[in-house]
Every structure is written in C-alpha cells, then in structure tokens.
C-alpha cells in the first residue's frame, strides 16, 4: 500500500515499483485519513480482519489531514496492523523526522531523492528488498 498525497510522486513511485515487480497489487491513499479508513475498513468489527491487510505500507510523512507520523501511531496501536512493515518515504532528511519515525515504530526510513537517476536506483533497491526479499508476517 502506498500513502502519498502528491500525484506526481505517486505516479513516479508506482512506475518504478511496477518496473521491479509488475504483478504486485498496490493500493494508493491520497492522505492519512483515507489510508486509515482503507485499513480499518478491511479489519472490520470482528475478531479477524474482513479482508486481507497490506503486506507493506510505504508512507509519506507530510500528508493532508492526518500526517504520516499519526498514521504510523494508529497502525502500531491496533493489534491487527501492529506488525505490518512500514517504510517511511519522505523528501525530508531532517534528523527529527527520522528519529520520530523510528520512535513510532517505522521499520525503515528512506529519503526520496530529487535526482531521478537516484530515485530510480532507490526505488529499485526498495522494491527488490521490501517486496521481493522481505517476508511479512501473515495475519
């Protein structure tokens, strides 16, 4: 699942992720509220989630309404989403953003490169590692 407010960034990210593995099903949310609504919708009210939860969340920090850190906190607070790997993917290389993310339980923090060559390399590595190599817990 990709949480990204910028349409351009969303397009570029999806383009590069699909270049790594085009059979992956990627859900997209434009802000924090939508992202949480999407996930809570899938959990439902019962013991078990109604629908399958995302294997990975790629989370931008600066989001309208509910920002990335709050989304992360909500995810970590819910027992169903507690173990879902979250990769924070932000333009910021501010120390406090990085530290705060890990404090709230992010599994990784990757800065979005501005240079597209770098961006491509980063996305390739990220996709290969988190989508192809990394094993997420099955609910």
């Amino acid at each position: 699942m990709l949480v990204e407010d910028s349409a351009q960034d969303e397009a570029l990210t999806l383009r590069q992720l699909q270049a790594v593995s085009d059979d992956t099903d990627i859900a997209v949310a434009g802000d924090g509220e939508k992202a949480l609504a999407f996930i809570l919708d899938r959990i439902g009210d019962g013991e078990e989630p109604v629908q399958k939860l995302p294997d990975l969340v790629i989370l931008d920090l600066k989001l309208p309404k509910i920002d990335g850190h709050d989304v992360l906190r909500e995810l970590r607070a819910n027992r169903h989403t507690r173990n879902i790997p979250v990769v924070v993917f932000s333009s910021s290389d501010e120390e406090r953003d990085i530290a705060r993310s890990y404090e709230l339980g992010a599994n990784s923090y990757v800065q979005k490169p501005v240079n597209f060559e770098d961006f491509k390399r980063t996305m390739a590595t990220l996709g290969k590692y988190w989508v192809s190599m990394n094993l997420s817990p099955r609910s």
Binding site: L12, S91, V114, N115, F116, E117, F119
Partner: protein, 624 residues
C-alpha cells in the same frame, strides 16, 4: 588593641574625677592639718599665758602677804623692842610670842608658808620665828637677808634637805615708824602649793603636762608622768630645757623626759627665774589630724569609686546611641533593609544616625531603581526571546516546508523529463532531448540550492555542544575523500599536526568541509593543487587558516563572499550555490569567532577563521 569608646570614655571620666577628688582630698587634708596645728599652738600658748598669770598672781599674793606683815603696824613696836634689846634676849618672850602668833596666820592650814623668821637687820640673827627653836640662829650671808634688807625679794626655790621639801624664800624689810630699817621678814613658802596654780582651766588634753623648772633645769613641780618625787632633785635634760634659757619663749616638737614625742611650749619667767613648760603628747595632738586624714581619705576613696561607677554609667548612656546604630547597621548588612537608626539628641551622633538613614534610603532607592530596571530588562528579554522563538519557529517551519515541499516538484520535473526520454525516446528528436536535458539540469541545480540552504539554516539552529576538536585529523579525512573523488589530480596537502580547537564537532565538520571543498574546487585548474592548513596563536583566539594556490578572487568583493547566494565566479568556471561561505560564517560567528579572506590574485586565496579559546570560554561561563 580594640577598646570600645564606652570604655575609653569611662576610663577618661573616671580618671579625671577620681584624680580631682584625690587631689581635693590632699588639699583639704593639708589645710585641715595646718589649721589644726595652728589651733593647737594657740591653745598651748593660751594655756601657758593663763598659767603664767595665775602663777604670778599666786606668787605676788604671797609676796604681798610678806610685805603686808612687814608693814603691819601693830607688830612694829614689838620688833623694835626686840632689836633695841640688842643680842637675843631670851627673857623677852612676850614680843616674840605676839609676833609668832601674828605670823602664824600664814603658816596655819589657810596659809602656804612653812615658817617665818624675823632677822635682825644688823647681824642677821633670828630674833623671832613661828618656830621658837630657830630663834638665835644667824642667817647673815643668805641672799634673802642681804637683798631683803633693801627691798622685797623672792629667792630662787631650793630643796630643804632636812625636811625633803622644796621651798621658796620671800623676804621684805621691816621699817620703824621713822623709816629706819629694823629687821628683815623672811617667809619660807612651801613650793608644793605651786602645783595647784598650774592646774587651772579645763583639762582639754589627756596628756597635757605642765611643770616648772628652775634656772639650773631642776624640776620645781612634779611632772605628771614621774612617780617618784623629783622636785629639786632631778634635772630636766630635754631640748626644751636648753631652749628655754636661750629663747625664753617658744614651742617645739621634741622628746620629753620619757623620750616620748611631745609638742612642748615653754616660757621663761624672769621675775622668779623659772621656766614654765606645757607639753602634749604628739600622738594625742596628732589625733585630730589622723582623724581628718582618715575621714578625708576614706571619703576621697569612696568618692573615687562613686566617680568610676558614675563615669561608667555616663559613658554607657553616652555611647548607647552608637551601639544602637551599630546594631542597626549590622541588621541592615544582614539584609534587614527596612532597619533605620533612631534619631535622638542634638549632637554628632544624631547627624551620624541621619547620615546612616540617608544612606539606607539612597541604597533603597537605587535598589528599587535597579529592580525596576531588571524587571524592564527581563520583560524586554522575554519579548525578544518570544520574538526570537517565533522567528526560529518560522525558520524551522520554513526549512521543514523547503525540505518537504520544494523537493517534490523538482523530483516531478526531473522524473517526468527522464520518463519522457525513457518511454518516448524514439519519438523525440535531438533538440527535444537537449531541451529535456536543460530541464533536468535546472531541476538538479535547484535541488543543490535547496540542500545548501537547509545546511545553512541548520548551521545556526539548536545549541552548541562544545568539546575539543582535532582540526588536523578532520582536515585529513575531508581532503582524503576529495582526492579520492578525483584521483588523477596532482596535489600536495600541508597540514599542521594536532591543531586543537574547542567547538561543536559537527559544525566544525561542516565549516571545514565547505572551506576545503572550496580550496579543492578552486585549485582544480592548477597544475599542482597545494592546500595548506595551519594555525596561529593569539591570546584570546585559536586562528586557523586554509591556504590554496587556486584562482583566488578579487579582493574588492571579498566582503560579498559571505552573503548567501553571492558568487564571485560564474557557474561555467566553477559550479556552486554561493551558500557555503555564508554557512561557514554563520557557524564561526555562532561560536563567537569570525572568518575573513585574502587573495593576491593568481597567487591563490587564504581563509582565516578564529574561535575563542577554551580558557576564554571557561572564563566567560564563570562570569555568567
């Protein structure tokens, strides 16, 4: 040695008063002593005069008795008869008895005479007497006979050895009716009767001793302090006895016949050739003096003690305002700032109290002003802090926005330009590709600018965490990295070993990175890049310089180099954003130091920066 004013004052007052009291005592004592001595003198003289009068009266009375009888007309015929009869005629008893009977008036209990003789004026034979057995005896050569024929006469006293009695002869001529000398009447006076003449008046002194001596110093009356009868048997051998015959009248202090100190007054009685002596024991005479002395001295002593006590009390009372004032000053010094001295009296101490209160008021005033000033300052600092915090917050959110929001569009420009080339490459001609290249270059440059601006703003954000930083090692690390990026370049690095500064290590890293990057960049066109790092020692600052042999710069614009985005070289010659040196300046200034640059045209550039020394900073921290 610390002596309280109170004690000094007490000592001074005590001394003055005690000394004056004691001096007064001495003066009073001296006057009293003289007065008493004078009194004693006049008293003794008066006593002597009185006794002399009395004695004269007594003796004259006896003389008059003798003269009276010598001129007693009724007995003249009987004497005449006896004388006319020639040699003593025992048969003429009647006249003798008449005469004896008449004279016996003076020899009986009322009289003081022991006996009377009637001597024949021609041969000195006793022709009649109150003692019948004496009749017929002759007294021709005795002076009372020879002198008594001419006029009434008093003989010097002498001791009647036979009867062991001191006696005095008084004689007077007996004349006939025709005035012819018939006989001499001689009376023998018992001297012991004189004793009573000496004891007149009040006995005002216990030891008063009055006696008479004759011309050869024999006692004529019994002195009080001799038990044995000494009259005419012992001589007085004192100074008084000697002086009496020489001076006739006077008073001396001497030793008497007992060898006791006495005051001795004496007078010579020429008519009787006797010396009258009156003596008082010195001890007794001196008694009033001793009494006065003791009284005066005890009074003076008590007075002195009283003066000391009074002086102490006066001194304590006098210095009380001073000790009070000191107590107030102590209290004030302890921080009881509302303490004020009590203003009393009309003297310098009141002035002092007023001055103290004035000072306290002035201090209070200053303190209030200072407090007010502090409050204003605090308010201003608070305001500035708030403003600064607001500015900082703004800068922060700006940086935050920059780091998030400015990058995203650039990524889009760059990303989609590239995507265009990748996905539709075959449909694009050469010119379109070139344009897309320019598009991407612009985006890249913008990205660098954003990165540098963020570095610049971070350089002054947050607090410094100071520690010892090894500049030399850091310089080597940076230069190593730079030379690895362009391994083919010819270069020489000269770095002074162990340059130590006291600074924030992360910030110093950034500053060195910028300066060495510049040096590396601007020597890129030199055949051999020479970069030198060294230090200069000044009293307050560590000065570091970085020297290169690069293209240098126009010194005219040296001051502009540190302004953000200001560049002295075109992008064609040397790439750059113009933010690096302003970052360096911000870092150095945040440490309290400065940075400056020099260049001699082609000879390269030299950048200096100075940082406060550790000791200077430590001193500043202590000051704060």
């Amino acid at each position: 040695m610390y002596i309280a004013i109170r004690h000094k004052l007490a000592i001074l007052l005590s001394t003055i008063s005690a000394v004056s009291i004691i001096i007064s005592g001495f003066i009073i004592y001296g006057i009293a002593k003289d007065q008493l001595a004078e009194n004693l003198d006049s008293l003794l003289y008066a006593r002597i005069a009185a006794i002399e009068d009395n004695l004269t009266v007594t003796l004259d009375e006896q003389l008059n008795h003798v003269i009276g009888f010598a001129e007693h007309e009724p007995i003249i015929p009987f004497i005449d008869a006896l004388v006319s009869a020639g040699v003593a005629k025992t048969f003429l008893t009647h006249p003798r008895e008449v005469i004896a009977k008449t004279l016996s008036v003076l020899t009986n209990d009322h009289g003081r005479f022991r006996k009377f003789w009637v001597l024949n004026a021609i041969d000195g034979e006793i022709i009649a007497s109150t003692e019948p057995e004496d009749v017929g005896k002759s007294r021709t050569r005795e002076s009372y006979f020879t002198k008594g024929r001419d006029a009434p006469h008093v003989e010097s006293p002498f001791l009647n050895l036979a009867e062991h009695t001191p006696v005095l002869f008084i004689s007077a001529p007996i004349l006939s009716d025709d005035g012819e000398l018939l006989a001499v009447l001689v009376g023998q006076l018992d001297l012991r009767h004189l004793q009573s003449a000496l004891t007149i008046g009040k006995r005002s002194y216990r030891s008063l001793d009055v006696f008479l001596i004759n011309a050869t110093n024999f006692f004529l009356t019994q002195p009080r302090f001799i038990e044995d009868d000494v009259v005419l048997m012992r001589q007085l051998s004192t100074n008084t006895a000697d002086l009496c015959r020489k001076q006739h009248e006077g008073m001396i202090t001497t030793k008497d016949y007992r060898s006791v100190d006495v005051i001795s007054a004496f007078k010579w009685l020429p008519n009787y050739e006797m010396c009258l002596i009156a003596e008082i024991d010195f001890t007794e005479a001196n008694e009033p003096v001793i009494l006065v002395r003791n009284t005066v001295f005890v009074s003076a002593f008590l007075g002195a003690i009283l003066a000391v006590v009074a002086s102490s009390l006066i001194a304590a009372r006098f210095t009380r305002p001073i000790t009070d004032l000191r107590e107030v000053a102590d209290g004030y010094a302890r921080g009881e700032l509302d303490r004020r001295a009590v203003v009393v009296g009309r003297d310098e101490i009141r002035d002092l109290a007023n001055a103290f209160n004035g000072m306290a008021e002035a201090i209070e005033q200053r303190r209030k002003e200072l407090e007010e000033f502090n409050r204003r300052l605090e308010r201003r600092v608070e305001l500035r802090t708030t403003e600064l915090k607001a500015a900082n917050d703004e800068l922060e959110s700006f940086s935050y926005a920059v780091s998030h929001d400015l990058r995203a569009p650039l990524r889009a420009v760059d990303g989609f330009s590239q995507a265009l080339v990748e996905d539709y490459g075959e449909k694009l001609d050469g010119e379109a590709r070139t344009y897309l290249g320019h598009l991407r270059e612009g985006a890249q440059k913008m990205a660098h600018l954003i990165d540098d601006i963020l570095k610049l703003s971070r350089a002054t954000r947050g607090d410094l965490s100071l520690s010892d930083v090894d500049v030399s090692t850091k310089a080597w690390e940076i230069l190593d990295r730079l030379s690895q990026s362009e391994p083919d370049r010819m270069k020489r690095f000269e770095i002074e070993p162990s340059i130590l500064v006291y600074a924030d290590p992360a910030l110093i890293d950034v500053a060195l990175e910028n300066l060495l990057n510049n040096a590396w960049k601007f020597t890129s066109k030199s055949v051999l890049s020479v970069i030198e790092v060294g230090s200069e020692d000044t009293p307050e600052f560590d000065v570091i310089y970085i020297k290169d042999n690069g293209v240098g710069f126009d010194e005219q614009y040296a001051h502009k180099m540190f302004t953000p985005f200001q560049r002295l070289h075109s992008d064609e010659d040397f790439e750059g954003t113009g933010v690096g040196l302003s970052t360096v300046q911000r870092i150095v200034r945040k440490h309290g130091g400065d940075v400056w640059a020099e260049s001699k045209g082609d000879a390269g550039a030299i950048f200096h920066f100075k940082l406060p020394k550790k000791e200077a900073l430590a001193y500043e921290v202590r000051e704060n």
